[in-house]
Symmetry: C2
Subunit: 392 residues, 2 copies
Amino acid sequence: MASSFYPPQRTLMGPGPSDVSARVLGALSRPTIGHLDPLFVTLMDEIKVLLQYAFQTTNELTLPVSAPGSAGMEACFVNLLSPGDKVIVCQNGVFGGRMKENVERCGATAIMVEDTWGEPVSVDKVIAAFDEHPDTCVLAFVHAETSTGVRSDAAALCKLATERNALSIVDAVTSLGGIELLVDEWGADAVYSGTQKCLSCVPGVSPVTFSPRAVERINNRGHKVQSWFLDMQLVMGYWGGSSKRAYHHTAPVNALYALHESLVMLQEEGLEAAHRRHRHNHLALVAGLEAMGLSMVVAPEYRLPQLNLVNIPEGVDDAALRSTLLEEFDLEIGAGLGALAGKAWRIGLMGFASSERNVITCLNALEAVLLRQHAAINPGKALNAAQAVLKG
Amino acid sequence: MASSFYPPQRTLMGPGPSDVSARVLGALSRPTIGHLDPLFVTLMDEIKVLLQYAFQTTNELTLPVSAPGSAGMEACFVNLLSPGDKVIVCQNGVFGGRMKENVERCGATAIMVEDTWGEPVSVDKVIAAFDEHPDTCVLAFVHAETSTGVRSDAAALCKLATERNALSIVDAVTSLGGIELLVDEWGADAVYSGTQKCLSCVPGVSPVTFSPRAVERINNRGHKVQSWFLDMQLVMGYWGGSSKRAYHHTAPVNALYALHESLVMLQEEGLEAAHRRHRHNHLALVAGLEAMGLSMVVAPEYRLPQLNLVNIPEGVDDAALRSTLLEEFDLEIGAGLGALAGKAWRIGLMGFASSERNVITCLNALEAVLLRQHAAINPGKALNAAQAVLKG
């Protein structure tokens, strides 16, 4: 017979999920009500407004897709693409590759613009790709690459798409709530995110927003979207502005209580303050890591404050170190993905997990385990360096 | 500024979500851990085994899709169908129509077998459809129609599909945990369900199971599944039997805590006992409703004990009555859908909500509001009739 599962209290400093606050977990476990209950409809309206704030947009079609970020990604592609369309896909990490998969499964063609993992998307290469393929109808890129910890220039890329009469699809899974994301000012057309990164909500829901240009493309499609579940014209009937909601699917009621609470918390703190906090803790962590003798993968100007890629020193047993952190310190940090597997750690400081306490916890634990592995580091320096930044 | 949302404590006797127990809500709000944490992987393995019990199957590919039941439905269709395939779709309510949408969005052809809403699927009509279309490769039908409260003969339909060398796709959204569902004994090939019906878990996750025949079809596909998110070959890499889990998407960690707890509760009670409880409370509710002078939509032999369709008496204001039940009694019952909109109520006695207390609560509240609307009913009879069954 199976019995109830009691998870330990981890400190989640990987690439997500990030630590979920007691306040959000409390909201999650409030009594379930019906998905068409008038009070729930009111909650849905509030979530839309709170998401508009988080995305810095007035887009009417702004809502949480009832599934994880990869379904949010798919929602953007299947609603905007038709077979035969040309899409420029920028790849500088894992998630550009997933975009390519999405494009091809829509029967469209992906024009790949590739950059080294750990570097941002080259705007010049994208310009060249548009020059070569002027009939491109969508430009897709990742704002904050979760596999490499790199920020690309979303403002420039969205502007370029608009100039070339293409729509932009922007992966903001890791950026939302952690760094500046100005959907309207940048003119981004379809943006998807996740709840389990800088919003520090439980995983399973994907906020998306579509510009009026994107909605026009959706409304003028000549054929049905290949996914019934992700068909935005149907989803709009449930989430839409009218007081009469059409049943489409059963919303994940409790997950939306939690999302609402996390967005209320973001609004209370304020976006700018949240960004400052992420940056502040990031600088302290980097100061500590560098004082310890470790080096960062990404150049300072492209680093994501919420996801820190650290080169694994020679001779360190990556898997053993992460296991020890998890088992002895209840601390999760992320492994490298794809080209960076075994070469880098991904240390998240996302949302509620971006705290002074977590910076100190992580530096202490990492130093202890590295010393046990006889790694060539400078012991006893990291905390002072980090504290200097935190107090600065 | 938005503020925290505090839902009322409703009694959920609609078509789902059903009442979620404090035990499941407690599990839901336990601390989030990583989706690749070894402890979480152990939990995933337990969920698979518990779902195999609930589905009465040894199917290796048995897991919860990380999205609502309509995505579970889509997962079955997109993984098993190819463009040009012929699919017999049985429609005797709303969800057969949704199956048709899924078939067509896969580029396949739906051969519709239609029955009156409120009646079961006619096996004879399906035989005739197979005779007319011997090259049919899938038979799709709804076991327990959530829009009409009707049970169809899943055993006979699955057997027929096997005889005709077709795979069966079975909608068991409302049946799982409430009535007999024998996936292996019946030879069902792809079955999807929901968490928010007779499992009384929060909505948002869809248990599915695929037979070895179905897995063989998936593994021998000549082209990629049109959905990346729902591609079972990729999902298997994360949920599969090997100890090395490949990252596909971020699982809805806390929702799976809750699903696990609800399945542990089902195992503790035992499937047969759960079915008996559903039937017992159903018979009491029907006795009460009929003593009150109300009539049921569905003939006794096809009635779902977990979802009771009641004809709305002449002259009753349906919307006003349901609003009053919700606002004054915190009681949700379901409206009719599609052909039954305005004509019937859907009273759920699902999972944790299938209780003697709820039978009495519902009869009392319904009688009070019907009397206020001067409906022609027999007052003062319902409780005694229900109690006689409950104590019998």
